[in-house]
């Protein structure tokens, strides 16, 4: 299983703080993630993570380019919207 964590307002959009997804071949890449979010959570969260300002971390490591995501069984994928001002 791969754990996906929704931070900030993404948790509101997803309607939950995190999800667990299985990957048939043991790996989840960026197109897989966008699709699994659309089909198994909701289209709004799928669109929100595609926003260019949404960053992705795998096991606490920020990805320079989230489209290069490769998550494996046991990984934690964090979806990070832009940080708040004020």
């Amino acid at each position: 299983m791969i754990r996906v964590v929704y931070l900030g307002k993404l948790a509101d959009i997803a309607g939950k703080p995190e999800s667990q997804f299985g990957a048939s071949d043991g790996e989840l890449d960026w197109p897989d993630l966008v699709e699994v979010l659309r089909n198994h959570v909701n289209p709004a969260i799928s669109e929100a993570v595609e926003d260019s300002r949404t960053r992705v971390a795998v096991n606490g490591e920020l990805l320079a380019d989230k489209t290069y995501l490769v998550a494996k069984h046991g990984d934690e994928v964090a979806l990070l919207p832009p940080v708040s001002g004020g």
Binding site: D12, A57, V83, S84, G86
Partner: protein
Amino acid sequence: MRSRYFPPSLAADPVPMRDIRLLDQMFLPGTLIGPFTNANPGLGGVCTFVGEVRFDDGVEALELTHYEPLTLPGMHALADRAFARFTLMGLLMVHRVGMMRPGEPIVCVSAAALHRRDAIDAVDFCMDHLKSAAWFWKREKRAGEWHWIEPREQDHSDLARWQG
């Protein structure tokens, strides 16, 4: 330039003093700053910034969410950059997470240095970079409802001050 005399306690321990914490409970900045100052004998100056939750129109509470695997490493990486950029003897960086009321301290950054320019600039630098380094998301409660606070343009211009 005059040469400097370092008191024995400092000469025996030249490692810069670093105190970085995330707190999920109310704190009193004075209880941190006194010991921090005393832990840096021989300093020339200490600059401290304390931010409090503002009494903004109708705001009842503020909640800070963070992502633990990024927040503390982010604060330490920021401290590394501050130590690399300024000549510091010590750096204290404390940030609240969780739910706060208006008037409560939310952040405290204190820098000790031989020279005041380093101490003041290090605090300014850390405050400008803390939000982008440490991944905090804020929402505020107004009339019983929570609202996320969106990024501001000001944050980008704050960071641009330190480039080049």
